[in-house]
Each structure stands twice: as C-alpha cells, then as structure tokens.
Assembly symmetry: C2
Homo-oligomer: 437 residues x 2
C-alpha cells in the first residue's frame, strides 16, 4: 500500500475530547472517526487492526470446536419477555418500535435469541455438547459514552453459547472457553488474568472476567501476584488438563471489586504478594445452568428419553474494545508498537523523499515489489515530507518494523529498525528473514 493512496487522515492536534491515550491515538492516527456520541466509523487503519483481532478470536473459537453463525442485530421483544429481561434490562437497552408498532430492540447480548434458535433446532442429547458463537455488532445506550471505543454505544463483540446435558458436562465447556480465552489473549500479546467476577444481568453463579492491567482501567482488581506467574501455554486441550488449568488459576486469589472482601484478601494473600490496581475487562465468561432454558422451555431428550432442561453458559470477548485495550497496553512514550500478530502492516518503508531527487523513492519501490512477492504486507511512505515528521507519524501508526531508505542505506543494504530498538544495516535477504520469523 502506498501511503499517499491510503485513506488515513492523520491529525497533529491532540483531540480535547479524548481523555485516555487509546482514544487520543485512534483519533490522531486516523483509525476511527466519531459519527455521533459513542458511535464511531472505523477508518481503514483501525478497521484492518480490528479485523486481525477478529480473525484470531475466530480461529481460537474454531479450535475448541465452536461453530460460527450470525444472529441479527434487531430482535423482537417477545423472547426477552419470555426470559423476564425485557423489564429488567433497564435503559441501556435500545428499544425500538417498527412501523407497525411492534416492540423491537437492538440486541445488547444474545442469550434469548440463541436459546430460541436452539430449542427449535435440537431435540436430542446426541447433538450435545454444542458450542455456537457469532461476532456481531451490539448496542448499549450508554448515558455517558467515553474513552473512545472502550465504552461506546455500538460495539463489536464475539459472544459464544454452550449447551450441555448436565452441570458436569457444562463445566467442561466452560473450561474449553477458559482455555480458548487464554490462548486468544496470548496471541494478542496480552497478559490477561482470569478474575472471579460478579455475573450482573447475565446471571448465574460461576463467572470469570479476563482483565489486563492498565492505569486507565475502569475495574479495580485485587490479586495475588502469583497468578501472573502461571504459564497458560502449559495446558493441553483435554478435559483433565483443562480442569487442572482452571483449578490452578482459581486457587490463587484474583477478584474484581464486586467480589472483593478485605478480610478474605488479607487472610488469603501475603502482604508482599498483594496487588491492588486497575484493569480493563477484555472478556467475560458465565455459567448459568438453566437460567434461560427454564423460562424459555428449552428441553432436550436425555439418554432415557426424558425431557430435561439444557444447561447453558455464555462467553464474550469485546473485539472493538480490544483495539483500545491493546493500545492502552502498548502505547508508551508517544510510541505505539502493534503486536506483530495484529499490526496493520508487516513493515513500513520510509524513503527520504524530496522534490528534486527520486532516487530513494525508486529504491523504495524496488524493495516494495520484492517484499510484496513474498506476501509481506508493506506500507510505503511515498509522501514528500521531512524525515522527522515521517518518524513521528509512524510512531502513531505503529507498524513494528521500518526500512529506512536515506543516507545510511547503501546498495542492497538498508537501515532496518524495530520500534523501540536501535536500527541496524542489513541486506534485504536478512530483512526478509526477520519479517518472516
């Protein structure tokens, strides 16, 4: 991609409405544009990052055997009346009347709709366990949307639902999702800690929030620092290993503020291991048994032909919110460095361009063609601008690797820089090896 052809409205001004660094960066780097309070358009740079996050989430859902589908954004109020949540949900639910006066709503979550899909589709225990998920826009009519995509009205979320015959089987599904979440955040280069959490309007008695530490977080968290030492990659994908995984995490104290009790914290965690800080919730999982299957009469035949209520759980990851959360974690000292797995481009070529001398640009174009041939996604900064401004701009865009074509490049050797590191002079072959690592 040539930068001059890309749609990336970078702005030098620090937007006054943006109070946290992810919101500032996303506006300055032209990743998003607000269309109305709490509602954003995703411009190509932001969109590209969000899509890469979405794809990692998808792959890790598929890995544990979840099936992707898609439920609509607009739902009928009827199923919400069946579950009892139509009245309970409060004003955050965007309620709509269609032209015929029917009560509709923009789904803030999908427990009711998936239960309705399931009860009309599955009759027998033979089809269980079943994991279904979708990645779809949700809407919550926040009274004070803020922090950019971190607390906005229209947001992109992966929500999965599990269906099992018994509590015991259902816990296995819960563990699979727990595992999938650890793997997902690991691939996003995030240290996300599962914390015992309150279940809120979703309901149930077993719930974990996955939280990354960040000053700007809205959740207060209390933890034993030993929980940060567990290596999530040590577990295998089988029921007993997954059970051990959850036990390993659960036996160490880590809770969000709704679950915090001072006495417990002091009793269970040594003073020197106590961590009290703030975090950003990036995922939340729930097990709630028959909370929805009971009022909505979602029954299946068990092995003896007896009708039984299906046991359900739900599992969310905020895909659009993760873009902001990752920036909160990775943007420091005015330099953004995207994790390689979700960077908008693999590498950026920055030639020193001037009106009277095309030599560097021509060199850059040759390198560009060679890298493209290797399926490396390259951004070429062909803009006529001084190098100091260019570097500042690329500190915002955050592509982790740069090939700088100026005074230091000679023949087939180029200045290669990883953000936050020193540059080195390397042959194009060596650069390719580094990029393909």
């Amino acid at each position: 991609m040539y930068l001059s052809k890309f749609f990336i409205p970078i702005t030098k001004d620090l937007p006054t409405e943006a109070k946290i660094k992810s919101h500032q960066l996303m506006l300055r780097a032209g990743m998003i544009k607000q269309s109305s309070a709490g509602i954003y358009s995703w411009l190509p740079l932001g969109f590209k990052v969000m899509k890469k996050i979405e794809q990692i989430v998808r792959e890790e859902q598929n890995f544990i055997g979840a099936h992707e589908m898609l439920m609509p954004t607009i739902q009928s109020s009827e199923i919400w009346k069946e579950s009892g949540r139509f009245d309970d949900y409060g004003e955050e639910m965007l309620r709509i009347k269609d032209r015929q006066g029917r009560e509709m709503l923009y789904g803030p979550t999908n427990e009711e709709l998936i239960t309705d899909v399931f009860r009309s589709s599955v009759k027998s225990y033979k089809s269980l366990p079943q994991l279904l998920y979708h990645i779809q826009w949700k809407f919550r009519d926040e009274i004070r949307p803020r922090f950019g995509v971190m607390r906005c009205k229209e947001f992109y979320m992966k929500d999965a639902y599990s269906f099992d015959l018994s509590d015991e089987e259902a816990k296995k599904s819960y563990n699979k999702m727990f595992y999938s979440y650890l793997k997902t955040f690991n691939r996003l280069d995030l240290k996300a800690i599962p914390m015992v959490a309150d279940t809120g309007p979703i309901g149930g008695d077993l719930s974990h929030e996955f939280v990354i530490l960040a000053e700007s977080g809205e959740s207060k968290i209390y933890a034993d620092k030993k929980i940060f030492e567990i290596d999530p990659t040590q577990y295998n994908f089988d029921d007993s290993s997954l059970q051990k995984m959850r036990e390993d995490f659960t036996k160490i104290y880590a809770v969000t503020d709704e679950k915090y009790k001072k006495d417990n914290f002091n009793k269970l965690v040594k003073k020197e291991n106590q961590i009290i800080t703030k975090g950003i919730e990036v995922g939340h999982i729930f097990y709630f048994g028959n909370k929805y299957s009971k009022p909505m009469n979602c029954l299946i035949d068990d092995k003896d032909g007896k009708k039984t209520l299906v046991k359900m759980g739900s599992y969310g990851i905020g895909v659009s919110r993760l873009v902001g959360a990752i920036i909160e974690a990775k943007y420091n000292n005015e330099i953004m460095k995207w994790p390689k797995s979700i960077s908008p481009f693999d590498v950026v070529i920055i030639p020193k361009v001037s009106k009277n001398n095309n030599e560097n640009l021509e060199k850059a174009e040759k390198v560009y063609i060679q890298l493209k041939k290797q399926n490396i996604d390259v951004l070429l900064d062909d803009v006529d601008e001084n190098m100091s401004n260019k570097f500042k701009k690329h500190d915002l865009i955050g592509v982790p690797y740069q090939i700088i074509i100026g005074a230091k490049s000679e023949g087939d050797n180029f200045e290669f820089k990883e953000l936050n590191s020193k540059s080195e002079i390397l042959s194009l072959e060596k650069i390719k090896l580094k990029l393909n690592r």
Copy 2:
C-alpha cells in the same frame, strides 16, 4: 467437519410460509432461521456460504483499489437533515429515539455518513480519486417482508463510494466499479447483466442495475439478447479498455421496467432478439455528482487552490441477498449445486453406515484425514441413516462433489460423483486432482 457435530437443523417438511425455492431450501437445509418477520439468524451452513460470497466481493473491491472501512449501523438524523433525505426517505427507514430523546436511525444506506467522513478528512485533490467501501448490516422496515433473505428487513450489503475532482474522472471510477461487478458475479458463476436503471432515492442520472435472470425475480426486464453474448473477461483494467467495456454494454438495449419504453424497444431491438423476462437485482451502481456534496458542503481544493464540490457515486451489492439469488439460479429438480467458489465444503464423504458394521465409517475417516492434510474442506456424513435419505439430504446441502463409500468402493478406489453427473470409480489421488482443479 463431522456432520453429527455440525449445527445443521435439516427439516423434511416444506415450510408453508416459503413461496420461492431459495427460501424453501434455506429453511429446509438449516441455513437460516427466522427470528422475527423479515429478520433471520444465519446458521452455520448459511453463514459459511455468505462469508465466502463476502470474501469474493471484498477481493474484487480491493483489486480496483477500493479501501475497506466500516461505518456504524446506527446514525444520527442530523446528517440526513443536511442532505434533505430525513423527510424524503419515508417509512422504510427505521427511526429510533435514544434514551436522551435524540433522533437516530438504522442506516438503510450510507451516502450521508461517508460524505461526513470524507469532508472532515480530505482537503486536497492530491488524495483523489478515492474509493471507499464497507460491508455492513442495513435495515429497511419493509411493510411486507417476503421471499426469505431476498426481501428482508435486516440485510448484509457491500456499499462503496467514489470521490473525484471532475465528472470525467468520476466516470472512470464508475467504470472501475462496473468492471469489478462483472468480475465479482463471474466468480460467483452468475451471468449478471448490467441494465440501465432508475436512480430512485439515491439520485443522480447515470445508473446500472446488475440483474440475473430468474422466474422469481421482482424486476421486469427488457433486453436485446445480444447483451448476453458479451464476454466480460475480455476487458483489461485500464481506463480506455474500461470505457470501451461500458460502451459495449451500453449500446445494446437492456433496461428495467422503470426505464422501459415500448416504442424504443421495438425501434431499437429486432423482434427475434427481444427478451422480456424477470430478473433479480444483485447489484446497483449510481453516479450522482454533487447531489450530496453540495448540501453537505463537501469541498476540496483543486489544482489552482480553488474550493470545488467533490463528485460522488455509490455502488451496492446485496451480499445476503446473493445467497438467495444464487439458489434461485442453481437449485433445480430438487438438487442444489453450489458453485465451487462458494460451496460450504469442497467435498462430502458419504459412507454407508450401519450399527453393526463400522468398516465404511473407518475407511471414510481415513480419507477424511488425507483430504484435510491437503487443506481440502471436507464434510463427513457419519450419521447412521439409510443411503437414500443421505443422498436426499445432500441434494439440499449442495456440496458439489461426493465420495461415496459403500459397495462400489474397493481398496483405494472410491465412488466419486459430481452432482448432476454420473459417478465414477477413482483412486484417491485422482479425486484430489479433481478437487484441486
């Protein structure tokens, strides 16, 4: 994928509410489930097909240099008041009041929002031409939704927008999209004919509908049969070839009913070449110059530094509607055969399974593993059901190739069948070659 683990609620009943064959098939094959009038959930089988169509649309948009982004579903009424369409649009627009009483709407189309994004981002002719697109859910509050995903309320659409400095440049963008559409439909194995069309609520004076012929179509079309003989693959992606392409298509009579005039038709088209039939609109492109840039004051600096109104066009493809349209075109004599490019699976293995004999199933599993190793996406029908029922089921699912493991398979040779053709006995190596063609 093992069929027994897949979420695919196939039903033998012919749904009474479904009047056309695509709607019937999609319900029977468990591709969709209605959640409320005109609103559907996409179950895994339907979702998979829709995603493949989406990806082809995306690749062909990217090919012509369009940049993908994403605008939200919920928009403020303010920009629609600027353009004058808030009052004009009528009751099909789903109007919403948020909790603070602000007038919002669920976007039926995005000319206003993209104009707002553009006017705040681009100031200079140097950034032109610019093509932006997104693939997003839209909502039209149809009074009588019908025909399944063909005329529903919530639908998935690719809409692109072009921005140019002059009418002349803008026509080049129009031609690029025209070309992209021909290529897209070609890859979907559809014969879509560009027809001169009315511009309706989008506006402008140049517009083409891309229509496929189908008995169930809602558009009446009048054409010279010579237009079906133009080979769209003969044109190159350069301005002069694209101009010739549009001229070649445009000089042959082909119009939708709003543009039809009997006298013209009889004067311009020989009696024996006249085609009067019905069709399904799968794409629609518009050039409308400054219809939106003028009321919304979307200005750019031209080469002389003079402010000038940007010239715009818009370009839609109904992605969810295409799933239905392709079924209308390809589902005949109770057999659905998906085009290879968008089939939910590359091949299905159908072993003859019985309770007391696992031999065929074990053979099938070995073949399954070997095909998976080659990145072939395989469905394995491991269900215990008689073969006649299995074949009927797979006539609905529509995977174009079958490997049948029963009496006729011997050693490493298997019965291989392309839907609507005779089966043959082939070695697995030969089958792999056929699938990778």
